[in-house]
């Protein structure tokens, strides 16, 4: 499948629909489900052409990246890990795929979901996490790491993107 060229709302809708199907069909009746939760997509904004949002289901909460057509973050095949640069820092994602969405990358936030009392608390956590991952690392108040000595040398990603030319 090729990456989607869709509006952010379309991606969120398709993602929610795909996992509502999974909930109704394949996950139905499993004890690992939190019965107080339902499938919902929270947030969903574009970053460098990729769609990023949080998927809440009764069995997991994932940060999801759906690559745009020109994406630098093409997920590998299912199960392949890849580090993705977000404003707050790099996170490790795992390649995944669903019909109607195509290949996407997911990063586990919580699973199982027994810790959430209701949908409201899950959505609140998802919103907080989204705003945290979009906050650049230097601005985060509780990041003493920023005070550490600056990185020496050029990362592999930086090298390929020509970071040394900009310095």
């Amino acid at each position: 499948m090729t990456p989607l060229d869709l509006e952010p709302e379309d991606i969120a809708r398709r993602l929610a629909a795909a996992f509502q199907r999974v909930h109704a069909e394949r996950m139905s009746g499993l004890p690992i489900l939190n019965p107080n939760l339902s499938v919902q997509v929270v947030g969903g904004r574009m970053l460098d052409g990729d769609w990023i949002g949080v998927l809440i289901t009764p069995w997991c909460m994932n940060l999801v990246l759906v690559p745009g057509p020109e994406s630098a973050n093409h997920p590998g095949s299912v199960g392949v890990k890849q580090r993705v640069a977000l404003p707050a820092g790099e996170v490790e994602t795992i390649g995944s795929e669903e019909a109607d969405i195509g290949p996407f990358a997911a990063c586990s936030l919580y699973s199982p979901m027994g810790g959430f009392a209701d949908q409201g608390s899950a959505v609140a956590a998802a919103e907080e996490i989204l705003s945290a991952v979009f906050t650049p690392a230097q601005q985060a108040s509780d990041a003493p790491a920023a005070a550490a000595p600056a990185k020496v040398g050029v990362s592999r990603r930086g090298l390929l993107r020509g970071a040394f030319l900009r310095d």
Binding site: R26, G79, G114, A124, E128, I129
Partner: protein, 365 residues
Amino acid sequence: MAMTETFYEVMRRQGITRRSFLKFCSLTATALGLEPALAGKIAHAMETKPRTPVLWLHGLECTCCSESFIRSAHPLVSDVVLSMISLDYDDLIMASAGHQAEAILTEIREKYKGNYILAVEGNPPLNQDGMSCIVGGRPFVEQLKEVASDCKAVISWGSCASWGCVQAAHPNPTQATPVHEVITDKPLIKVPGCPPIAEVMTGVITYMLTFDRIPELDRQGRPKMFYGQRIHDKCYRRPHFDAGQFVEDWDDEGARKGYCLYKMGCKGPTTYNACSTVRWNNGVSFPIQSGHGCIGCSEDGFWDKGSFYDHVTNTHVFGIEANADRVGIAAAGTVGVAVTAHAVASAVRRIKQGAGEHHEENDKT
């Protein structure tokens, strides 16, 4: 063996070249997730710091921890670590035997009083005055208490020392007891697993020897750098779990497609360990990759938690990190956003952290 001998001198004496030594320092920096620039600091520390002896005691155990440890992936790392920690006393690999071996214990205790690390593999049985485990003609628990009384810190290797493991399983006839319940007055770090991953063991011990402190621990006393995430969080089969694609029977279509093993009893969702990231045998594979579920060997009381093939039915069985988050979120309804922010901050920190990576901000607690 003067007190002033440094790690570097010990390594050189063991035939390790300067080039290998420097390479080891950069490998260590990488393995611990430190900035490459810190390799120089590690080298400097090892050139100037007096060597810390490690005494490695064996109680009721099967020696799988030692067997794992001596198979550390990088040959240079195992060479260096083995010479560096200079296992003055270790039943498995020391040259001496009998009275001579026991004399080493006394000698190190006196010479390095308060300045050596005690690594314990296995645990002491307390029933019948400890008669179920006799070392050098005396109950192991006596030896353990004596050696611990003068040590700087204790490492509990493996699930036996950390939790009790199989010998402490119900009904625990010998009253096998984890080390932290016997030694209560020393800093103690638990490195559970049956056995722990070799790279985790060398990573922990290198960190302690290089930085002269123990890495940040979770509330159960495990180093967060390796036990901060569940197998499930980083499992390469995770997309199949998320999508509800499960193996339903051994060797069915799903098994051949590499689907999630949760329904076959995989304990990945409740087990904190680095198997799905560091993996085993030089990073070749780990149980789930070989087609079998995780049995949760690094969790407390895993022998008494039912069959390896029953799937996790109690979603409230959480490890400590999730507990912290759950408490945070449950309380959020009453005390507001601050607590949720704590749960969120820990989730964000978790997803940014790679396996075995050490983050300085984690040390601030």
